[in-house]
């Protein structure tokens, strides 16, 4: 514990004794982490938007009149357990009528005019992904049950959604990979450069008989502090930029788009993960900076 406290003190003192170097290193890491965080925020927004669209890619299985309720429930359960299904709702005739009246209020009391509810029951299936083959398979499964009269699904809409999904997924995946890599390499390179002159100190202390822990602990702590500083400030700046963008666009034509894309923000566990990755990259770079001198 005493060793750790002394190492922490030595690391902080060392950073304070070369403020310009620490400041420049932090600035470089801030830019990298900020760009990464903003990209991930945009990605989260785009993904949310896609999920909202995907919700509308439901297929509706219209049930035959007189379909036995237990057979309907059995089919609904079967569909819930099918792969690629996000949600299954059983719509009884009353609910179908209520939804119709809500969607078309001008048509008034249809049931009253006809003397009976013209709608039959249905099962609404929301696929987990807008994927035409999955939706088609679900439709076939419904038809094969014998209690489904017809199936409605928008083949073009689902196809377009699938393409958009693939595009967003690919763009976000590759972009995130490149930016995560770039940010971590930046953190690592900057920390390594900032601590490069520690090599002489490490070599000297090793020649004097200093234990490895004594020599490495301050270097690793210094790397972790630099990494934490860069990642922390970068994430903070990204948050400030996001909030400012949301506030500044209120009442402008961009409001909808900006709120749609930046509104959700990066999930908290991701922020924690990015911060931790920054700290670890800093430590790893510090270990590389100390290099073979520590093991001599």
């Amino acid at each position: 514990m005493r060793l750790l406290a002394e190492a922490l003190r030595a690391a902080v003192l060392d950073l304070l004794r070369r403020p310009l170097g620490a400041l420049l290193a932090t600035a470089a890491m801030t830019v990298a982490m900020c760009l990464l965080a903003l990209f991930l925020a945009l990605g989260t927004g785009a993904r949310g938007l896609y999920e909202r669209w995907s919700d509308q890619a439901a297929l509706e299985l219209f049930l035959s009149r007189g379909a036995p309720p237990d057979a309907v429930l059995r089919l609904a359960e079967e569909l819930r357990g099918a792969p690629g299904v996000a949600r299954v709702d059983v719509i009884d005739p009353d609910r179908a009528l209520a939804e119709f009246e809500e969607a078309f209020p001008d048509l008034g009391d249809v049931a009253g005019l006809l003397g009976e509810n013209p709608f039959g029951g249905s099962i609404r299936v929301v696929p987990a992904r807008a994927d035409a083959s999955t939706v088609k398979a679900l439709a076939e499964r419904g038809k094969a049950s014998g209690i489904v009269e017809s199936v409605r699904w928008d083949r073009e809409w689902i196809g377009a959604l699938a393409r958009i999904g693939r595009l967003i997924g690919g763009f976000l995946g590759i972009g995130a990979l490149v930016l995560v890599g770039a940010a971590l390499v930046t953190v690592g390179a900057v920390v390594r450069l900032a601590l490069d002159d520690k090599r002489d100190e490490v070599a000297l202390l090793r020649l004097c008989g200093a234990p490895l822990a004594f020599v490495l602990a301050p270097v690793l702590i210094e790397g972790a502090l630099l990494g934490a500083l860069g990642a922390g400030v970068g994430l903070l700046v990204a948050r400030i930029v996001r909030v400012a963008a949301l506030e500044e666009t209120v009442g402008t034509p961009l409001e909808g788009l900006v709120h749609l894309l930046l509104g959700p923000g990066v999930p908290a566990p991701w922020i924690g993960g990015l911060f931790l990755a920054g700290v670890l990259a800093g430590m790893l770079a510090a270990a590389l900076a100390a290099g073979r001198a520590a093991l001599r």
Binding site: R17, C208, G209, A210, P211
Partner: protein, 217 residues
């Protein structure tokens, strides 16, 4: 204290930095390792600190045979030595006092004893009044005196000095030699590698002369 038996060190297969070198150094001796640049003086010292391992022969330091020394025991051996370099190797971001104290801290000396010892060695090298200064603000001679204070602070049994006056003028060299002789007079074994003829003439002590990696009479 130090035994070299038929020691050879090759960095490349076709060239021996040291070839079949044998000598003994007794505890408390002052020994000069002399010879021109590239004769193998630094390699000999690096074998003693076990920065490098002999290609052939046997090196024994303070009863420990270095060829058989496990890596985990190297640091314990080095704690018995103090080293002075030609280029001083002071850490520029530490004050004079901190440079000396750092080694004691690394060796686990308690703070009160550390402070007392640092004050005493700085007093001894005549730099107590510069304890708070930064190394780049000192002259070459002063920097080397700090380096000697740092090397001797842990009270080592063996002091290795590699061309300690190489970067200093004649006057400063005499000061450094005087400090090394004082350390020797207190019982420390001193190995001084140098090619400075004036220093060799003034130093006294036994002389081991190296030429092209071989000891010559």
């Amino acid at each position: 204290m130090i035994v070299f038996e038929q020691v050879t060190k090759r960095y490349r297969p076709d060239e021996a930095a040291l070839a079949e070198v044998s000598f003994h150094v007794e505890q408390g001796e002052l020994v000069l390792i002399t010879g021109p640049s590239g004769a193998g003086k630094t390699t000999l010292l690096r074998l003693i600190t076990r920065e490098v391992v002999a290609t052939g022969g046997r090196v024994v330091v303070d009863g420990v045979e270095l060829g058989r020394l496990r890596p985990g025991r190297v640091q314990a051996l080095r704690r018995r030595m103090g080293i002075v370099f030609q280029d001083f190797r002071l850490l520029p971001r530490y004050t004079v006092e901190e440079n000396v104290a750092l080694v004691l801290r690394a060796l686990g000396w308690p703070p009160a004893r550390r402070r007392e010892r640092v004050a005493r060695v700085l007093e001894w090298v005549g730099l107590a009044h510069k304890a708070e200064e930064w190394p780049p603000a000192l002259s070459g001679g002063e920097q080397q005196r700090v380096a000697i204070a740092r090397a001797l602070a842990p009270e080592p049994r063996l002091l290795l000095a590699d061309e300690p006056t190489g970067n200093l003028d004649a006057g400063r060299s005499r000061e450094i030699l005087e400090l090394l002789r004082q350390a020797h007079a207190r019982g420390t074994t001193v190995l001084l590698a140098t090619h400075d003829e004036a220093l060799i003439a003034a130093a006294g002590g036994r002389r081991l002369h190296l030429v092209d990696g071989r000891l010559v009479p």
